[in-house]
């Protein structure tokens, strides 16, 4: 597990903007007096988790769409890619995304193009 890296300053501003919008949305300005910190913490964590999952989902979807595999390691072209749903339990919750998958009927293999090691050098 990689250790926690400090957030780049360019993103910190973005986080502040999002946080401001969330607080406005959740509490219409400020939480009413008497709101327990536990409740504020729970809301913050839920929001953070939801943002984290959304970031992960979008990132992997875009990565998968970047470089679809065209040929199998046997050299034959793959069948027209279909989309396969993926679901992963992450530290921040479930992340689901769709990924194109190529299939080689000769080798009876499915290729998930988001993997960097697709092809003869893989694995």
């Amino acid at each position: 597990m990689a250790g926690k890296q400090p957030l780049p300053s360019s993103l910190r501003g973005l986080v502040e903007e999002v946080a401001e919008k969330v607080v406005l949305q959740l509490y219409a300005g400020a939480p009413p007096l008497g709101t327990l910190f536990e409740e504020i913490e729970e809301a913050g964590v839920q929001m953070g988790d939801a943002v984290a999952c959304a970031v992960m989902r979008r990132a992997v979807e875009r990565q998968a769409a970047e470089a679809p595999a065209k040929t199998c390691c046997c050299g034959r072209p793959l069948e027209e890619p279909t989309v396969e749903p993926h679901s992963l339990t992450t530290r921040r919750g479930e992340v689901g995304w769709n990924e194109p998958v190529g299939f080689c009927p000769q080798c009876r293999r499915a290729f998930f193009p988001s993997e960097p090691s697709v092809g003869p050098s893989g694995g």
């Binding site: 992450t90 530290r91 009876r108 293999r109 993997e115 960097p116 697709v118 694995g123």
Partner: protein, 476 residues
């Protein structure tokens, strides 16, 4: 992305699952920890499946490394791995643990109970249910258990067998059934150590703890062999129960452990020896200036030494020798007289003068006579005969004064404590394992206890080698 196809958990979550599974005492506890500390809802069964899968991968890696080592030419095997720097003192310690194992895959009789899953660890269930399940285990599994257990029985004191037989007679039948499923787990420790050689024995006098009544009787009882034969001493009776005796300061010039690698498996001793020697080679042990192999007197240990570690100095664990010497000294004597004899003999053993003890034991045997075939385990003649055989067999591995001069360890305490750490996870009267589940958890628990961080490297490599390919199987 470094994801295996079909993976349900992200790499970070998978690592947390495995950590929790090997750190806690059960999959259920692991699931609770994940739920409470990491806010992850995984489920005990999913934790078990993850352990089976990752443990299986690690076992595969280990076996591949062993095969690669065996394929090397002999000179390369002897010269040591070129990568890590050879330690000045390389020590291999070996011992056995116990765990309950049963295979249910071969069961053919239909049962209303849940079908055999081949799972790793089964959650505790009422004794009655366990008793029903016992009937479903085939005779083949039972005879395999007997064969497997026989290997480690070689070093067991007859008193222990007698005590177990008595306990079995007094126990309900369920316990008797369960006892058939205890199997050995092999545990090896690879230790790089620091020590200095000296011209003189740095500790010629036996440490006070080995001639302290309370400590020695406690030690003998803890080891579990001769407890029943120990007469109560006056000093011991006065001692408060549960009160720990003050321990001796570190023995002068005792080797200091630096880095420990742990290996554990259900493999037979020959196969485990191959695993151990390959791992020792990978740590550069073959090229170490001083090498020692420390174990108790079980025959399989020394077969393993002959097969794989013959270039290591063989050392019999001093504590096991002490056990035998204590029992023989006490046999047929009052405690006071026996204690005096023990004090003299154990000092001789400490000095490496085992031949003198053997000569005195022969005289004692002559005086008492040889034990008849049906002699009980507590018969003094039998105890003397067994001790005599033990010391004669291991005399060449008991030159303790020389080992101390060479700065070598004389006790297998690191292996003993590692067995306890392994047992903490795998051993329990209600904890039954399948063979595959046992191997997986032993491997991962050993990895967790290793200071060489094998799991860190494993996780990195696992992500790098994710293929992104899924092979489809032909339809039947």
């Amino acid at each position: 992305m470094g994801l295996q196809v079909g993976e349900a958990h992200s790499p970070a979550v998978l690592q947390k699952i495995i950590q929790a599974a090997v750190r806690n005492r059960s999959y259920r506890e692991a699931d609770q920890e994940l739920s409470e500390s990491a806010e992850l809802s995984i489920g005990p069964k999913a934790v078990e499946r993850a352990v089976r899968r990752i443990g299986g991968e690690r076992v595969g890696q280990r076996d591949a490394a062993t095969e690669a080592f065996q394929a090397l030419p002999l000179p390369e095997q002897r010269d040591g791995c070129p990568q890590p720097k050879a330690p000045s003192l390389a020590v291999v310690q070996f011992d056995c643990g116990r765990m309950l194992v049963r295979e249910r895959e071969s069961v053919s009789t239909p049962s209303p109970l849940p079908a055999a899953t081949g799972g790793g660890e089964e959650p505790p269930r009422p004794i009655e249910e366990d008793a029903c399940r016992e009937e479903r285990v085939t005779e083949a599994a039972i005879s395999a258990a007997a064969q497997c257990g026989a290997e480690a029985e070689a070093d067991r004191w007859p008193a222990e067998e007698a005590q177990e037989a008595q306990e079995a007679a007094e126990s309900p039948p369920v316990d008797e059934c369960r006892s058939r499923f205890w199997r050995d787990s092999k545990v090896g420790c690879l230790l790089s150590m620091h020590s200095v050689e000296s011209a003189e024995d740095p500790c010629p006098e036996i440490p006070a703890s080995f001639v302290n009544v309370s400590r020695v009787t406690q030690l003998v009882r803890e080891l579990g062999s001769h407890g029943s034969g120990v007469p109560p001493a006056a000093g011991e009776e006065k001692a408060e129960p549960g009160r720990e005796e003050p321990r001796d300061p570190q023995r002068p010039a005792a080797p200091v452990p630096l880095v420990r690698t742990v290996l554990a498996s259900r493999a037979c001793s020959t196969a485990f020896g191959a695993i151990l020697v390959a791992a020792a080679w990978a740590r550069g042990f073959a090229a170490a200036a001083r090498k020692a192999f420390v174990a108790d007197g079980a025959a399989m240990n020394w077969t393993m030494w002959e097969l794989y570690f013959s270039h290591y100095v063989p050392i019999l664990d001093f504590i096991h020798a002490l056990q035998y010497v204590f029992a023989a000294a006490m046999a047929g004597r009052s405690f006071d007289v026996g204690w005096e004899v023990y004090g003299r003999w154990i000092q001789l053993v400490w000095e490496g003068r085992v031949a003198v003890v053997i000569a005195e034991l022969r005289q004692r045997q002559e005086a008492l006579g040889l034990p008849p075939k049906d002699a009980s385990a507590t018969d003094p003649r039998k105890i003397i005969a067994v001790t005599l055989g033990y010391l004669e067999t291991h005399q060449s591995r008991m030159d303790y004064a020389r080992y101390r001069r060479l700065g070598l360890p004389i006790m297998s305490c690191y292996a003993e404590s590692t067995v306890k750490q392994i047992n903490h996870r795998v051993k329990g009267t209600e904890k039954f394992w399948s063979e595959a589940g046992a191997e997986a958890i032993l491997q991962l628990r050993a990895d967790y206890l290793s200071e060489t961080q094998p799991l860190t490297r494993f996780w990195q490599k696992r992500q790098q080698t994710a293929t992104g390919q899924r092979r489809y199987r032909c339809a039947a």
